[in-house]
Amino acid sequence: MKNHLSFHSLSLPFTSFHSILILSLFTFHLSPFTSSAQDITVRAGYNIGGTAPLPLPASIRSIDAFRPTFSPCIGADFQFSIFNFQFSAGLHLENKGMDIDATVKSYHMEMTKGTSHISGLFTGHISQQVTQWMLTVPVSFIIHHSTFNIKFGPYFSLLLSKEFSGIASDGYLRQGDPTGPRIEIGNKEGEWATYDFSDEMRSLQWGLGVGLDWRFSRHAGLSVDLHWGLSGIFNSDFKTVEQPLYPIYGSIGLFYNL
């Protein structure tokens, strides 16, 4: 039986995709190619990072607060060998959240509600929350060295629940361009501007992951990973936020080899 992880067209509904994924991974476990005694590793960890434009535009003047969010990551990985090379593939359930305050200067923003919209350059304070619950399939090539495993490879994520919203306050909006009317934006409800771009977020993300597993006992160990998103979190036709935002997250956790 040929083993491969196949990713069908992006428009597949979630449940079918899920089933195919589980089936593929189960097939791996039963495959004659699997030779390692430790097939399954369960993991639990914590994600920390953010969705950021790269490079950070000059309109972002400072990051004023960076608050932790409930961003756990739990899952299981299956290790297998192909021609004596070690790989792993897994299924993780995680949240990549972000709660940040920033000061911006002349940052392009567009806020639409119904048929009216306001767009222009905002200078002031932004308080923003991002929530991205997802099912992630990381695929890694493994280099083994004594108690360490170095992992490197792509990951693919399906968003289950997403939110991107915030408040623009304590500043002003120059409507249209820098010579447009300057509209003061206050610091209280009714005087500040809220925005919510959750509906504009893509359902699929992918990127590259690199990580280190350090086994400190026979079965358990510590893992540190970096997941660098290569796809922007918003649909490509969404132009309100000037630049694509990439999810860049590190995670720290524990693993246990079954």
């Binding site: 490079p55 002349s106 009216s116 820098p178 009317p181």
Partner: protein, 379 residues
């Protein structure tokens, strides 16, 4: 584990923070204040406080100094406070000749990419014994987002005086594709005589409601509308009053009023049994406080301030026929010396929803106004 987590939090913040780029030069190019300096020019002004104009709204392109007379007006140096880093041409503080009309200044932003054009003018203060406002003079203003709306002005001694203001600019922010007839304040060809004014209370749509400002009443008043404060403090956006050297005693004119169908409160909830009302009022007030600072009245105190000398109010009865109205200002008398020095201001205000400034009213309420006369006290 917790320490590791906190350390990561700190490192991540540091990572993001270290990527912050250098600040770019400013791209705005506004005139924030303008003033004339020099004792030799003081005699041309009624008050030295009129030698300075502060808080110039971002939607202004015209800066007008009121003077006693332009006869013998020498070249005057006008100084400007600009957006930091911006430059102005002709030079800041340079002597300019205003005897033939306004002088055009161009302000360029620090990053050299944007510029704004302003006209600075010196105008003789109006001195008519009565003022007839016929509302025949209408101009079309284009907002930055492309919407266009009407502005009413007067012509006196061949000079255009932009003394009438409305909340149109505030509504224009939300509606980039509107044309004049859609705005709460617009001209109508069916005035009592010739053209007149149509004031119409409207819904501001989902955005206005999101900011807690679900309706916009049609309004017209003597004064200035400052678009800057329209979201944070809507009552401060309406600056009522123009300086005068005469005390108004009576305001009369013609009107028609039809209330809208459903009266709603500030949350757009219908209030059964309540019917919208229009509002016509005039206020005459002292335009400097006890410390000598210049004062203008806003939406939150134009009918209640201690500086009011006399006022008159009318809630016009609903009628679909042109009806004459007349209100007489009651109160005290102006001090003649202060009056001669233009130490008083007056305003006349028309609104299609009496409580529109607190966003209570009925969408669709319409007030027509035309042929307004203000009679002043004979000296």
């Amino acid at each position: 584990m917790k320490r590791l987590l906190l350390a990561s939090l700190f490192l991540t913040t540091l990572l993001f923070a270290s990527c912050i780029k250098d600040e770019l030069p400013n791209n705005e190019c506004d005139i924030l204040s303008a003033w004339v300096e020099g004792e030799e020019y003081e005699s041309f002004f009624y008050q030295t406080t009129q030698m300075r104009i502060d808080n110039i709204p971002s939607n202004s392109t015209e800066i007008v100094f009121q003077v006693r007379t332009k006869t013998g007006l020498p070249p005057i140096p006008v100084y400007f406070a600009l957006t930091p880093g911006a430059t102005i041409e002709p030079a800041n503080g340079s002597l300019q000749d205003f005897s033939d009309g306004p002088v055009t200044y161009i302000v360029t932003s620090e990053d050299d990419a944007w510029c704004r054009i302003y006209r600075v003018d010196f105008q003789e203060a109006s001195s008519s014994a009565s003022s007839h406002f016929r509302f025949e003079h209408v101009a079309v203003d284009t907002f930055t987002n492309g919407s266009t709306y009407h502005i009413f002005y007067e012509i006196e001694d061949n000079i255009r005086r932009n003394i009438w203001a409305s909340g149109n600019a505030g509504v224009a922010i939300l509606h980039g594709d509107w044309t004049p007839a859609q705005f709460p304040t617009h001209s109508t060809d069916n005035g009592y005589q010739g053209k007149g004014v149509c004031l119409n209370t409207q819904s501001t749509g989902a955005w206005g409601a999101a900011f807690g400002k679900p309706i916009a009443a049609g309004n017209l008043f003597l004064g200035r509308f400052n678009v800057n404060a329209v979201l944070t403090d809507a009552l401060k956006a309406t600056e009522f009053g123009i300086p005068t050297s005469q005390q108004p005693v009576k305001v009369s004119g013609w009107y028609k009023y039809t209330p809208g169908d459903t009266f709603t409160d500030a949350s757009m909830q219908p209030v059964p049994g309540r019917v919208d009302q229009g509002h016509i009022y005039a206020v005459f007030y002292r335009n400097h406080d006890a410390q000598g600072n210049p004062v203008v009245l806003y939406g939150d105190n134009v009918l209640s301030s201690d500086l009011i000398v006399s006022k008159a109010e009318l809630v016009p009865a609903a009628t679909d026929q042109w009806t004459h109205f007349e209100i007489t200002l009651e109160g005290g008398s102006a001090d003649p010396a202060i009056l001669a020095a233009m130490g008083y201001s007056y305003t006349v205000v028309f609104s299609s929803s009496k409580d529109g400034d607190t966003f209570e009213g009925a969408v669709g309420s319409t007030l027509y106004v035309d042929e307004v006369t203000v009679e002043f006290q004979a000296n």
